[in-house]
Symmetry: D2
Subunit: 314 residues, 4 copies
């Protein structure tokens, strides 16, 4: 049982807080819309909302629509960044991608043109994530995608995490904006691997399929509570948590930091992975999105939980 919620009473308190936060989140769901650019995302139930909390001892508390599998989408950026940091080192990674948040949308190309040196502002926007994938392909070969899957499986404590082929193929077919970003990076010399090989890596990581429970455990992995096995260096995990706070929630990151005060990363599938450093992980699924691409219900659920349970790192 965890430090935070010891014994039966602790678990009950946690479950009760989660149920109340879920109810709070549900009140906001109708403000959002599901992503419509590819059919498998467009088919999602806009009213769905579910969440799971993974505690250090292995226990998981879940509520709401927790059975739906969904794809990681941009949540995957956290793990390819972590893989690149671990395998290639911060020096190599940050020669290709910056560390600064940006007020621009996630698929913006504007900054690439204005940035000096010309490189993506951070690894959480699409251009930056493509640059990270390109570095992995360049240095470790396209086969390194297997390492990424292994890392995600280890974090999720689940061998069943795998690529959703339908989503992957749909992304690949319609991903012209990401293709534009990749060719721009190629022109800038930031991307040195093949464009299509790199995009293939990127589209496949976005299409990794998980559940809320998997996602909660992935958050717990990054929370790295004392005593947890540490397959990845603590300092690198802190780096990715920092990126989640400054730019994990697209251009709603600042607002989420102010309101919830914890690292989190969202994806256009409606996924949100949150990390309470040293303590626990949360996985949320709510496919109705606000205009910036974050789960409407998921954000409100996490804000409510963080306030009720005093999770803010600030």
């Amino acid at each position: 049982m965890s430090r935070d919620f010891p014994g039966e009473a602790g678990r009950d308190r946690l479950r009760s807080a989660l149920e109340q936060a879920l109810a709070e989140g549900r009140r906001h769901v109708n403000r959002g819309k599901v992503a419509a650019y590819i059919p498998p995302l467009a088919r999602a139930d806009p009213d769905a909302l579910g969440a799971a909390i993974a505690l250090p001892g292995g226990e998981v508390v879940a509520a709401g629509d927790c059975r739906h599998p969904f794809t990681l989408q941009s949540v995957s950026k956290v793990f390819s960044l972590l893989l690149a940091l671990e395998r290639l080192g911060p020096g190599a990674v940050f020669s290709r991608v910056g560390m600064e948040p940006t007020g621009d949308p996630f698929n913006s190309v504007l900054r690439l043109e204005l940035a000096e040196p010309p490189r993506p502002l951070n690894p959480m926007i699409n251009a930056g994530a493509v640059a990270v994938c390109g570095l992995l392909v360049e240095q470790l070969g396209p086969g390194s995608f297997g390492e990424l899957v292994e890392l995600v499986r280890a974090a999720a404590q689940s061998g069943s995490v795998d690529v959703d082929e339908e989503v992957y193929l749909a992304e690949k077919e319609t991903g012209h904006r990401n293709r534009a970003l990749a060719y721009f990076l190629k022109d800038l010399g930031v991307l040195r691997a093949g464009v299509e090989e790199t995009l293939d890596y990127y589209f496949r990581q976005c299409a990794l399929r998980v559940t809320c429970v998997d996602l909660a455990r992935m958050g717990l992995f990054l929370a790295a509570p004392p005593g947890s096995p540490a397959p990845v260096c603590r300092e690198l995990i802190r780096m990715v948590n920092a990126f989640m706070v400054t730019c994990g929630m697209y251009n709603g990151s600042g607002e989420f930091a102010v309101r919830a005060g914890i690292p989190a990363k969202s994806g256009v599938s409606g996924a949100v992975m949150a990390v309470v450093p040293g303590r626990l992980g949360v996985g949320v699924y709510g496919p109705a999105l606000e205009s910036r691409g974050n789960s409407v219900g998921g954000v409100e659920l996490l804000v409510a939980l963080s306030r009720r349970l005093d999770w803010s790192v600030f």
Copy 2:
């Protein structure tokens, strides 16, 4: 004595860490330049570097060039924001200024033109801070500057914090870029108080004069350790700490979050105030700045301290 550094041994360990971090910071000082836009800043000693750490019990550990008084400059933005949040409420404040970090320089006007709704992206860039000052002037009158001074004095536990008239007048005379921002805000309807009255408030808060020890206690005030008197609501303090992490270090904020992992706010005087939430505050003075406006030596000193003493909130 604090939880972190109990007894004589703890204090010795802290002092030793600070000395080593100071040495580390000093190695970088020659990469920077002092701000030259007004004479009182241009006169600063580029080699100066000093720091103080304020602990919950009232104890302060200091090292280096700690006697120099200096002006808060942008560090003051944190306290006018806090005053506005406390006196007028988050709803009023965030109707005039956003919460998102930006990749632009602190005095950029570009975003004002592109932002939708048209308002400053966050309260840590100049345009946002001017908007906050304008709201205070509009709602509470120019006399509310006295309240700001009281808040800073309470935080610094020092009645001697006051406006440096020479700096204030120099800023006022040369502040054309800030004047441009203010008139732009006026045109957008974000600024409703008088432009010159608002700028006067802004220039005076920038010119508040402190020492490293004052600044460290101001950081401790925002760290709000358990048991500390809480003249300001804890939730509002968390908000300003969140802003410091996402946009407190100009457009080096993301890098500082990744490297040091703690809330901090810098000023072009070379001031850096850092907050270790729940634990302690740090005040640094090092007037040699990198290109983005942060103290070169101050940043390296804080990164070294944070790593050595495990301060990261992530």
Copy 3:
């Protein structure tokens, strides 16, 4: 009688073409809106449309709502540029303002921040016109405004052209965006005269009051037909005509060049002055504006006239 329209028959053909073009223009008037930012402009009749053509021999053909006096607004930029070119030389002028058209709105500040060297892109956008006024004030003193009035009167062949005090005062009171641009230019070192003195010059030139006939004669002055007296060097007149083609119609300049093919300058009062080089001048008044700030009816009237009478310089 002019080369283009010799004798009675020529005049009849011109009058008939003008009447038809007026009818064409009137069909579009309801797509526009009058400028509303100051009361004297907001009071304009949105349905008004009138035009006059001034021929080399002194003859004028007019049609529609030609009696309304109106203010020059941005049309005045052409004449302060011409004055600056003549009195200070192209070298001095183009050290402060560029020659390139821009896709940005007339009051944009964005380019000022991105341009390298930092100066307004051209003298037809507000920032550029303020820079030109500032140069005149700096080099010739604020009294040079009298010279500008004389130049406009000479061009209009009318001693009654004067500042509309109500418009001038209204612009001065509400001109926060222009004030922002001026302070930005001051900060960049492009504006070296006093900000308020410069803006006063600028607001007064915008408030110069004329009629369609005056405006047509001002266009004829710039057409500089063979045999006309030449108080201003022909080469400088060609320069301002070139600016009118590349950037005289705000960010509708390219479209107007493609459709009408003649130099023209518009103002938010609904004024449009057009120049058929070597041949004649046209003055149009139609206060209903399209989104970019050009007279809706005026543009269509000029396009119809140019096509019918084969005026394109291309």
Copy 4:
């Protein structure tokens, strides 16, 4: 013999003016650099400068380095635009590309993101030219490239104009920035043909190989002097001439309009085609480029010629 230069004496005067202008242009050549992004361009002689003037009667006056064949590069944009206007109509063309000049570099992607509606600002920047090629491929099939070659051959009065295969293949291999623009246009729905098919069209048109004399005749074709055969509607020719004035010389177009006052289009090979409407055409080759991509010597040569021979349309 032409209206402008009748008889032997006229021809002598023209030849003398051209020789003097050539000497003027040569004085500036060493300020420039040849394009280096593909080997066939990088091999060009930086000191080369030559020009030819084509007169209505069929006569051509040439001087300097006129034997070098070179590729059209961006000059080709004028002819694919003309083909699209003629075959598909202005309505179809301007639904995909705007008419406004821009202060941005020719390969900028920034405007694509900010423009509303999202489409290239004009057909002379790369994004706009790719959009025009895409429209031709979409509506007429890739085989329409044959029509473009025929149009250029007819304009040049030369059956030997053809694709330089080495240049074409080099552009195709290294054209990542253009590929980025094309995928961006695909994402925006502006480009509906296949990306690679469209780029192939674009790269091949850029690689059309001509001489100064060919280029001068192409200019004469667009000058459309009275009595010349008119295989293309005069009004469409005026449109492309208007585009050349507002945006034919990259982001040096405004300056060229002010200094030379005639329509012209440049390419990174060092080609410049100039048009004196109703009168004559000029072809220039000078591979040393200024920073914006225009032939340094070519621009000065044309400015000198235009001033000496009074060519300005203004």
